[in-house]
Symmetry: D2
Subunit: 453 residues, 4 copies
């Protein structure tokens, strides 16, 4: 599902001030009276992941053309969208029903929070914002498909990307008998719509409103966690990201000259309270807390990366991401975890986290292995509690200090000035035992030196 860059650019010019998340929880359903005469001809009902943009609008109409009844499903995971307008548009294009669901709360609590616990980073750099949203949206869509007894689901993801996989694996996992219509993989569709021009013409011919602003020369995907930018001029990995592209974060060169200092409190490895040490504002509910961190991170230009990553299908792609709040949480959680988790537990959890990052990226959220890993990671977070103080400034997050009631840090033990319950002589024995192998290896190496005559 691609979010049209143009529409976004149009309505989000003052992105640090505007209200990002103005849509209240709702599940609007608009019934459109089906013509009983055509019903009998229907190939069946499709629940389409609808974005309101040009692509999925064309797909909606095209599906009807093919003989399907279409239910539009639009999940609010925090993207900047006029959901009411999208609803009206879907209805006007012939959607039998339109479901709009605010999934932001469950997205934060059930998807982003486990990610915070995990510290998962794909290929050491990508914070997985899109990967997390897909199974959340697909789960909602499947729920509607089952409820509406639709045999089909459909989406607008391309045939080269990761999102088709993430979307469909969740669908198959939760609704194995579902049939998936992926137009961008169907020759009859992609041969008909070779480029944007074809879509525009089709739109005009079928009364689909077309964007009035020109499309930006890249595509983007937005949710409450991040915006990703790719394709178009970004496909050349040498090209720098253009000025003005980023929408969630201010350019660090234009960000405030004084930091914001935050205190983030964790319990069970998830944030439960954020306090701005300057103005003393606090946030405690997951969604508000996360939105606030997005505001602070966005204001200071935090969380921009430009990477080349390996898609699940094996091709390398270039992606640019901004993840303001997620970046702050990642740094803070890593710190409180290191402070409270045993060293060897941490190593094992680190491996689980690596697995989790691949599962997430590859679309296996709803798999037995991901369920298992989430369980284990959650278990590891039992004592991950305490507060971390961070400074957010000019694109960077600085950890300043931390404290915890469940820390395994022992100041007396580690102190250079206090002996604590520690006998330095033991370290000598420890080292000598550790060196046993090395000495044996040296012995072997020496014995293999060719003898000179």
């Amino acid at each position: 599902m691609r979010v049209g860059g143009a529409g976004r650019t149009g309505c989000a010019q003052n992105h640090t001030q505007r209200e990002w998340y103005r849509f209240e929880a709702r599940a609007l359903v608009t019934n459109r009276q089906s013509d009983p005469g055509t019903m009998s001809q229907s190939k069946g009902t499709v629940v389409l992941a609808y974005s309101g943009g040009l692509d999925t609008s064309c797909i909606l109409v095209w599906l009807k053309e093919q003989g399907y009844e279409v239910i539009a499903y639009l999940a609010d995971v925090g993207q900047d969208e006029d959901f009411e307008a999208a609803r009206a548009k879907a209805v006007s294009l012939g959607a039998k029903k339109v479901f709009i669901e605010d999934l932001r709360k469950e997205f934060v609590e059930e998807f982003i929070w486990p990610w915070v616990q995990s510290n998962a980073v794909y290929e050491d750099r990508y914070f997985l914002g899109t990967s997390l949203a897909r199974p959340c949206i697909a789960r909602g869509q499947v729920k509607i498909a089952k409820q509406e007894k639709a045999q089909f689901v459909s989406h607008g993801a391309t045939g080269k990307g990761n999102d088709q996989i993430r979307f469909e694996l969740t669908c198959y996992a939760l609704y194995p008998e579902v049939k998936i219509i992926s137009p961008w993989r169907l020759p009859e569709f992609y041969n008909r719509f070779m480029g944007r021009t074809d879509l525009m013409e089709y739109a005009k011919r079928h009364g689909i409103p077309v964007p009035v602003t020109p499309k930006s020369p890249w595509s983007m995907d937005a949710n409450i966690m991040h915006i990703s930018y790719e394709s178009g001029i970004l496909e050349n990995p040498k090209n720098h990201a253009p000025d003005g592209m980023f929408m969630m974060t201010v350019d660090p060169s234009k960000s405030p000259n004084t930091p914001d200092e935050l205190e983030i409190e964790f319990k069970n490895g998830v944030p439960v309270k954020v306090t701005n040490l300057g103005d003393k504002t606090t946030h405690t509910s997951p969604l508000e807390l996360f939105m606030y961190l997005n505001d602070i991170g966005g204001k200071h230009g935090v969380g921009r990366i430009d990477i080349v990553e390996n898609r699940f299908i094996g091709m390398k792609s270039r992606g640019i991401y901004e993840t303001p709040g997620g970046t702050i949480l990642h740094e803070a959680h890593m710190d409180i975890e290191a402070f409270t988790m045993d060293k060897e537990v941490r190593k094992i959890k680190q491996q689980l986290s690596l697995k989790f990052s691949e599962q997430l990226y590859n679309g296996f959220w709803d798999s037995p292995e991901c369920k298992f890993v989430r369980h284990c990671i959650n278990k590891s977070q039992e004592h991950v509690a305490g507060t971390v103080q961070v400074s957010v400034f000019k694109g960077h997050v600085y950890v300043l200090g931390r404290e915890s009631p469940t820390s395994l840090y022992n100041q007396d033990l580690v102190s250079m000035n206090v002996q604590g319950d520690y006998d330095p002589i033991d370290a000598g024995g420890f080292i000598k035992i550790c060196s046993l192998r090395l000495k044996e290896y040296h012995r072997l190496q020496s014995s293999m030196v060719p003898k000179s005559k």
Copy 2:
């Protein structure tokens, strides 16, 4: 080996302007005529890792007191030190010989470069600057010990830290029959010198020059790669790092308001050329190139971290580090590697890198396993070549773009606008095969739902 903060503070006030690395390669040896009468009483010869500071000066004198002849060994790995003054001091304290070696070139080429290839980060955050220097220094010291037929080596590392281990494991690995005198682990020493006051008194009594400036309330260790700060007031993990502590990097709030843009060229996974895209200066020799990156990184406040880490001996400690040039190289290498290395090779190499980070941190550089891992990592870098453009600004490094003659990135293949040698239908098959397991699992889960009567 602790570097006295006081001396450093005294001579490095203008740390962004001063010449950090002014010491030319040299291996000064000062022979001091030993008294043949006392020779016969000698317990043997000790090569002492000497820093010129209060601790190792006291150790030098104490070792002589115990009946050893002492050779002072002072390695220049880029720390800010008046090596000539240190030499004179060692001689005046009774060192039989003094060896001062400039190891900076080999430190960069043989230790830092393999680290760059590896992307090794200890516990996801620490860039291992001290860990890399220890085996380099110890190797030099062992070489002198063997050359001088000394049966003993000694050092001033504390009994709670990692450095004693790193130092001694290298010694045992390269010189298994060596005997190590670690005063801070000997009750007769540490009970005599319970604190700095005892050292000061001993120094005064034995004509050891004492620092004129007060010691800073933390300890530090410096080399060309980084400076670490710990102990003292930093032992409370809640305390923020004090203003003015950092010596290699400017405070980002006072760093320039315009970035420096660099182009870094890699071959075999190591940097071979750095070009400042602003003033067009270039550096190609490893040592100069690295020092230049330190300058740029330092100027922009790059590479500061404040962490709690797990020492090898199992205690948690708080460390603050600044690694300006290393941070830039880490970001750039990660990018060019992702661009040129196969996805699955990368995964395996990532695991090797994790192992490497532990080996390094724990002091096992000179172990069979570390030798093996270095070999494998080096092999993985065969095609890691190309240039990365980065912007260095306000404490952060931004990757801007990259190109490579050996990239596995295929713009046609990944393009949204070009089909390339790719059939989207294949992705449908791929996804369905991937979902087989998930469907089976769903089947099992469904079958286990308790039947209602």
Copy 3:
């Protein structure tokens, strides 16, 4: 704790027939009236892991000589021992109290069962029989030490082995303030008792009964899970194990010429029922079931291995083991697990199992990481249920077949004759997607071939 081979040889000649596990659960305590006059001189109370053999009998007397009061602790983990005689001996040697505990049930249920779930094998070969028993015994000993308010514990493990570590880590983990007396690491002890002759002389002098049969030229350690043999003539890794050494298993060349076929039923990854398909006998309680598998495995010579392994302290040692029942369970559990566990969950669990094997071997049962891993492994066993049929014959266990109500095996799906819910065309897409990377790599390789002129 070494079990004297001689005594064992004497009383266990008909090892396939004899009752191995004849000791009922008990916790005999024999109070011996302490002399109030000497009490005031006591250095404190030691709980000694007592085996009844020569070594620990000498240690008991020696500890008293040093001024300690000694409580003998003897755990029955299934070794072949005359516990009543041992009790009488300890009392006669001056033990203040003697505790004899039958830990076999908890050893099987709380230690061996998690091992069965894990499939843990140290270095791909060793089934960890001794590693499992040590924390079980030490836990019991610590419980007594706390109960009796003893500040000391002691054991007879040597200073080169793994058992000292396993024993002491458990003690420190459960009773951090305990002091451990490890005589074989104390110069005043090991310099006094340089060999068996010294022990024998000491024994004679102090009225300690000495074995009447000559000691076998190796040492052994036995419990309900296995017997290990090492040291003595086995220290030469080229020497073959002598005839007649093995005590739990018959020589396969003398074992029955017809197999026993068993059906083993699992729930939650642990065996809940064993049925002999020949004579229809069944066993369901953990201890009886395991003892029965030992009988069957022993009768058919199953579970003998001869390996060189790496001790935790880094030296290689040669060990010979026999693990009859454990080997049968390992094979059967591996089979039912493969049948019921998702492929990717299995991979993750396999890594956890590798970790577990190291934790176990190295003595970290009572560590946060081992607790965590046991939790995760146990979680992975939720659906590991069903029956496996095995044939036990001439030193080998053959899996014959399996069935399960929670299997993920789908006969229709996999069948060559039935299409099932499977479209072979998908496999073509799957393969082509998998080959994308390989083609890209080929492209790169081809481009790097030096051009000929």
Copy 4:
């Protein structure tokens, strides 16, 4: 490629006596004069992996029917086949050319030997015999396809199995532009040939000789390393393998009552000499040595397993395998490796081996990651040298002893009777340092106990 069980059963009744590997190295090519008139109509040339059996004979004729010219390619990887008869058959069915290549030597040296070095076992049980042969055969086939300028290759692997993947990934990796015809995945083929009856009818109609003996109710695949059995009656995982199914190994209940004792010498981790300690026969060339181990292993019934495994495509399948020589080598190599390889190197190599087993099983032999892993594993084998003595008896391989010039085993160091260069006091320090974390964890746990009032 499935080898018809029937044919095999017919000609291999005395499998311990018969000469398995009677086919000399050869590359017979039979040219058949193509009709120039039909040439112009040709869709192109297909190199077909031809087995001589019913399936690939039908495919050969069917491909011609479709308008292709067919070159038959038959690789001898040690399967029991009348290659001359197969050649004649292919010619008579209209193959334009027939290539028969003896790949046994390269299969052993370039595929089986790296496997021996690796100790790779898929899912802890499967020794990968088929997985190893596929890339060897496909490589040969691709070589012919390129040489003959054929744009197509084809094979008879089914659409549900692993072999299609292994075959095709190698083809795509080595010959990216090749087109692969996989009839069992083409609806026009598999819908026409729904079962064996259809194939038989087609064969009769097209003059394809049909097997005179009834097909065995399972399928098998044979090469010099192993035979696998699956499908048919084996698809029910509860069914026991029928008597008489195994062809490479004698039933252990009928195998000799006296063992064969062998001494196997390794260099660089591969066997270089096998000596029968009974009759003193020796073998040194890789192919002969391996064939001899097959004879010995087969004679004693070694290497049979019955497992359920996870195919790459995610379905579980039941496979029964016999790998006589490979099993002996696996045991012996594991032993000499443990004897000569550093503990920590071994751990890393163990992880590489796990990766290797997956790469192999999944068909990624010719991938960058497998090339990398093979390089690393080979590097790890530098000092893996020495001899292992094994006893082969009644289905089991017993390691008896080992010796090596490059062992890291140090008898003095490990001895219970000799102190060696070892101070037991060090172990006390080692243990106390290891317990630091455990004590800290205990402290935390204790502090969290809810306070009682």
